[in-house]
Symmetry: C2
Subunit: 786 residues, 2 copies
């Protein structure tokens, strides 16, 4: 993924940063307000439900530094690209997740004076993200300049059940004086993206009105010259006050205010319950938006806050039941992994195959909402093991639906005959990225997309997917590889020239081993799948072959490529070569890097990084991770040791993969060290960029490091296996997975591994190489290996 500022800046895990959050197993708790860290907190305390989500912007007026953010899954704006030097083939637009009208604002005037959290005296402050229940709460005592002290208590959530609905319960209590409160609850339609390339506003207001005490605004994304459909969005709110209030309405600068005035006696309180709904043309016709938004908010109001919250909590309980990882003996680790799982669950719920997992989810603008290879290469296994089959299937369908655009994308780069190159960054299937070395050359992404199909079919056994959708994608991808290779006139081998591998600290190299290996694997897997589909569903196969003009001749060429793919290796060191010529680089390792030059990306010019041997993120090791079973343990170990010594892990996606492989080769210490780099990356803000949003896609890495790393889970076509061990500082850890018709809970302790099958039947469960048959309700117990 090309996110050039996306680096783990820590040089050691034990950072001497100011402790921001209380250690707690289920909650993220902040006990002190720090304006300098408010933007980080806005990211950390974000809430979402896979369809919409917000940064934890205060309801209150706040004149301090803030990044206002409210996002709707799938609603974006095609911003005009900013390019220094144009290259043929560059896309015209960059899809930006759009900052949508804000419904959370509740401003208060106390005796006529605005309560601005950046300006009043804050006597006490607590903010809690309850990960178990999916709520964000705040309690804070403020003192106004006139000494009036108020206690504000608020709670909000966006429903996991009614996914277009959010609600806030907001209470103000006056502690020491009588006072007059003016409470203004509003929708703000005039919102901007800070990352707009040309400082443009992406929205235009369509209408707003007050419909029997319910306020509704309709906004529409501006016209664009790229043929991308405009989105319209209706936002409705309804305010319920617990006390008698006098209400007025006032719209100013596209802020639709409902203003309530009341007198509070000392010790009195008032509670405002605010219901909101946002619906868009992603799901409804433009003309009915306003009506539907009003219906949704009415229904929410009718259901009431408590009921809404109850069903929301229940949905979260279901999610946790399947996806929780329990770590005993290490509260920080426990909090870290739960935070990661919580954020993944908030970002993608898998019930809409048009949505995907944005690298920053609903927590920020940057890269937010768009799709990278992160989804298939890093996140897919998490959803596969913790969610119903339909969820991962929807992730596959997302790419299936975009196949025609991937073919168009290939055509733009000179490929023909249905060759599909999936984009590096996309919202609708159109490529949005514009660095030639990434956009045009980081083609290994095609491999990860094919591999997710393999993963899915192997894990679920749903081979029918191949017949219906999978094979067509595989053929598109294989056609690309077959056209992209060239036969070296010298070596008489198929080569792939001019690529950027996963290690983006090398650009435009020849024969990146990872890419070549993946291309070969794709072709082989496609050939096998063709054979199988022809065997089991000849009719469907023929129909598809005809539709996409697939010819048997192609198969012949593919076989030849599979057999004669060039894979660079070095005999002397007995290692795989990251790319041609890698060993000509300077003989230095990460140990030779002075601390003050790290991360190198912030200290070195790009050419220096490129010609150095330093590796940004798992590359050969990423290949060993994917294709582990193709290699001897010795080969994996030798290559891991060689490349780990040269990898600076300046991508958040890197340490987790190295951690899994370190576990595989029995280097538990290294595995744990690398695990820690991912698990609390944002919570401890290692890379000083949490303020812009969280690293959602790399959060799956912590899950991988535990489940595939420490617990050694592997899935082969006919069995599931584990090779668990436990990090020294942990007492036990346990997790649950869905595997085909079964639910397995794996608990690893110092002395024993217990695998309980709470549902279904697992006929081929391998633990430490031994095969067991475990029935529903049974628990398999074996001794933990050191």
């Amino acid at each position: 993924m090309s996110k050039i500022t996306d680096f783990c800046l820590y040089l050691c895990v034990e950072q001497k940063t100011k402790k921001m959050f209380v250690e707690d197993e289920w909650n993220i708790i902040e006990r002190e307000f720090d304006a300098d860290r408010q933007m980080i907190a806005e990211s950390i305390f974000s809430i979402g439900n896979g369809h919409m989500g917000q940064r934890a912007n205060f309801e209150e007026a706040y004149s301090g530094k803030t990044l206002q953010g409210n996002y709707i899954g799938g609603v974006f704006f095609p911003d005009k690209t900013r390019v220094g030097w144009w290259k043929n083939g560059y896309p015209d637009y960059f899809a930006k997740v759009i900052n949508a009208p804000n419904w959370t604002g509740i401003h208060t005037w106390v005796n006529g004076k605005l309560l601005d959290l950046a300006k009043v005296k804050i006597r006490s402050f607590e903010r809690v993200l309850n990960m178990k229940e999916g709520t964000l709460s705040k309690q804070c005592e403020v003192e106004m300049p006139d000494k009036t002290r108020l206690l504000i208590t608020s709670q909000r959530f966006v429903s996991m059940v009614s996914v277009e609905v959010g609600a806030i319960r907001y209470t103000i209590e006056t502690l020491n004086k009588n006072c007059e409160l003016t409470i203004q609850s509003f929708i703000q339609s005039k919102v901007f993206n800070q990352d707009s390339n040309y400082n443009e506003c992406f929205w235009e207001s369509v209408s707003h009105k007050n419909a029997k005490g319910r306020i509704v605004a309709v906004d529409k994304t501006k016209q664009n010259p790229f043929g991308v459909s405009q989105y319209s969005l209706a936002t409705a709110i309804k305010n319920d006050f617990s006390a008698q209030v006098s209400i007025t309405h006032k719209t100013e600068n596209l802020q639709l205010n409902e203003i309530a005035t009341l007198q509070l006696k000392k010790g009195d309180s008032v509670t405002l319950t605010k219901y909101a709904a946002q619906v868009s043309t992603l799901n409804y016709e433009e003309k009915s938006l306003e009506k539907i938004a009003l219906q949704r908010v009415e229904a929410a109001e009718k259901e009431g806050y408590e009921h809404l919250l109850k069903s929301h909590k229940k949905a979260w309980a279901e999610k946790w039941k399947m996806s929780d990882i329990v770590i005993k003996g290490d509260v920080k680790a426990q909090q870290g992994i739960r935070f990661n799982i919580f954020q993944l669950q908030q970002t993608y719920t898998g019930d809409d195959s048009r949505l995907n997992i944005g690298p920053k989810g609903f927590t920020g603008e940057k890269y937010g909402g768009v799709t990278y290879w992160d989804t298939e290469a890093f996140c897919f296994p998490f959803y596969l093991s913790t969610s119903p089959e339909t969820v991962s299937r929807n992730l596959l369908l997302y790419r299936y639906k975009q196949l025609p655009r991937a073919i168009k994308n290939g055509e733009k780069l000179g490929f023909t005959h249905g060759a599909a190159l999936y984009p590096m960054v996309t919202m609708t299937g159109d490529e949005c990225h514009n660095e030639w070395e990434i956009t045009f050359e980081e083609i290994h992404r095609n491999g990860a997309i094919a591999h997710a199909i393999y993963d899915y079919v192997t894990y679920t056994g749903d081979k029918a997917y191949l017949v219906e959708y999978g094979l067509e994608v595989l053929i598109g991808i294989s056609r690309f590889w077959a056209q992209r290779v060239i036969l070296s006139p010298i070596k008489r081998k198929y080569m792939i020239l001019g690529v950027t591998g996963p290690n983006e600290y090398e650009n435009n190299v020849n024969n990146n081993w990872y890419t070549n290996y993946f291309a070969q694997w794709c072709l082989r897997y496609t050939l096998e799948t063709i054979s199988w589909v022809k065997r089991v569903a000849m009719e469907q196969y023929q129909e598809m072959a005809k539709r996409i003009s697939f010819e048997e001749m192609e198969v012949l060429r593919w076989s030849d490529i599979v057999q004669n793919m060039y894979l660079p290796t070095d005999e002397k060191y007995g290692i795989i070569l990251q790319q041609d010529g890698y060993l000509d680089k300077e003989a230095v390792t990460v140990a030779d890097l002075p601390a003050d030059q790290r991360p190198i990306n912030q200290h070195w010019s790009w050419d220096r990084i490129l010609r150095s041997p330093y590796i940004k993120q798992a590359d050969v090791v990423q290949g060993l991770y994917f294709f582990e079973s193709d290699f001897e343990m010795d080969t994996i170990r030798r290559n891991f040791d060689f490349y780990e010594a040269r990898c600076v892990h300046e991508s958040s996606l890197s340490p987790c993969i190295h951690s899994v492989v370190a576990s595989k080769i029995g280097n538990g210490e290294k595995a744990y060290e690398l695990y820690l780099r991912t698990a609390r990356l944002d919570l401890d803000d290692y890379n000083k960029e949490a303020q812009d949003g969280l690293h959602i896609t790399s959060m799956s890495g912590s899950w991988l490091a535990i489940v595939k790393g420490f617990a050694g889970m592997r899935v082969q076509p006919n069995h599931i296996s584990f090779e668990p061990y436990i990090p020294k500082s942990w007492k036990t850890y346990s997790f649950t997975i869905l595997y085909r018709n079964a639910v397995l809970t794996v608990k690893v302790g110092k002395s024993s591994v217990e695998i309980r099958v709470s549902k279904g039947f697992v006929p081929n469960l391998k633990v430490y190489g031994e095969t067991y048959e475990v029935k529903s309700g049974e628990t398999l117990k074996v001794k933990t290996k050191a």
Copy 2:
């Protein structure tokens, strides 16, 4: 040079384009007005004097498509860079040659109706660029809507003697009716750069006034955040009318108008002589600018148009005496080469070491005025042979003065200890370019800058330059190379990884042979120069060594690098390898390229170009051109044949170099074919971009193709030699060169070569390998070889 739209689009030399100009030996003549080609004509008919210059915008009102351009050498604006994805080390600004206030405008109203050349009926039209005298003339008969017919005759020039002064003689004759004329002669201060990155105006008005009938405006470039000094510019004009006129003045929208009204009888005419001066803070203090501009325009007025023109013509006659190339038997070729020489002489006169040769000179904005390696690698030999020594010396001093900034530029990229990396694109020595593969990696430019020093010293014998300035630059450059190489742990040779060679259709390659060879040469030449300087001027050497902390240890490392530089070659094909892995590319040549895919830069995406074997411009061949004497003829031939077959010549700087080498190996037909591609590139607008300005720096290529190619001129430390032949279609060709104290005129005919020494003495003149001694006034005559 990275000018990505700079491509020769022709697919064959014989283009079927509409003929635009009359074939003529000394003039560029346009006999028909074509609005579609006006912008091309504006470029072609540009005039300049090395200090200022203008596109041939009409004096008249013209509402058609136009690119208004008036440029002052050395006066620029640091425009904010536009970058898609920022990289460490990128420069903050891009120096743009600034479009300066326009002094050429003369608008006329005929009976109250504006004479707009885009709208009136043009009954006849002729525009002539007199290259012999350096004037631009126009004669055109127009008919106004009221049927009034007028004959307009104009002539203008910018003085080669008073370089801050320009003048226009402008006559209107009424042919068929009496009429009232209102003539408005003006300065327009509100001018823009069309290539501004963010649509900003770069100027702000300081003052304007009418000083006793002389109008003067002072304008200043806007403030910038880059610490680049602002420039102020004063523009003064004086209008002299040949008839009684009533004068008024009016300033509107920063256009300072002097308006004259008069009545003309049928057959009467009026002549306006307009004198202009532009002076800037490049040469004077801001506070005295206005005064000096007025003085200059007064002096011009006093001298009078005819006298000004006379001295101007004389200056041009001097220039032609030394630099003309006469071709008999081919008017097109004659016109082409003179056009090239004319433009080179207009662009750079060599009397100010702060100025240099912009790729588009004074003919357009794009790349205009900034300095590329073009200067040293392509233009330097022309000035060296056709201008006094001071001219080429000033080109060297330009780089000498910028040495501290080249060192700073090196530091920005991580180099230390006085290592100098000259910028890819610059105005003041600061790097302005911002594509990492060019800015950071096209480092071979450093070699060309060192080579120009070698060229200069070898040609002129002025070895004192080395002591005074040259060695310090050579050491800065060698220090760069010594830090930039790495010792390959495998091959135990010094390598240069991650570069872009002259062939910009390869990026970030390892061991570009041209770069490696040049680095080795630089180090060797610097070592030799150090030895020599120590021998002849130890004191100065020691002073310099101390000043720049030069240590003997450095010399040891350099010797080791010289002896162990890795130079990629292929034994099987017996060729030099353009870079590591070049032969792994697809085995296709230019002959395999379908015509509809050329130029590939306009049809292929960047990755496809990069992985193809196709070469943008001379690369290995550029090295063979520079270091010809290091190689056997067979080696040169084998490599030329191999690489010419793969070179698409999509840079205007490419065919000329291949032409010189083709001449060397006796492939005259190829040499002539390639020569033609350069000689009339802009006149015939092969690449459909003359409208933006001319390819000034590549114009020297035609000179090289004739003098170094057809005539085979070479200079070695102790002799000058020729190996002339004549292209089939030519009867004779001749040219004059300055060589040390001598003036030589070389005339090549079908049967004989005559070399006349009109001044000085040439003790070692080699022709076809024989050495002669030729005295002043003598002519050596030998038989022409076939």
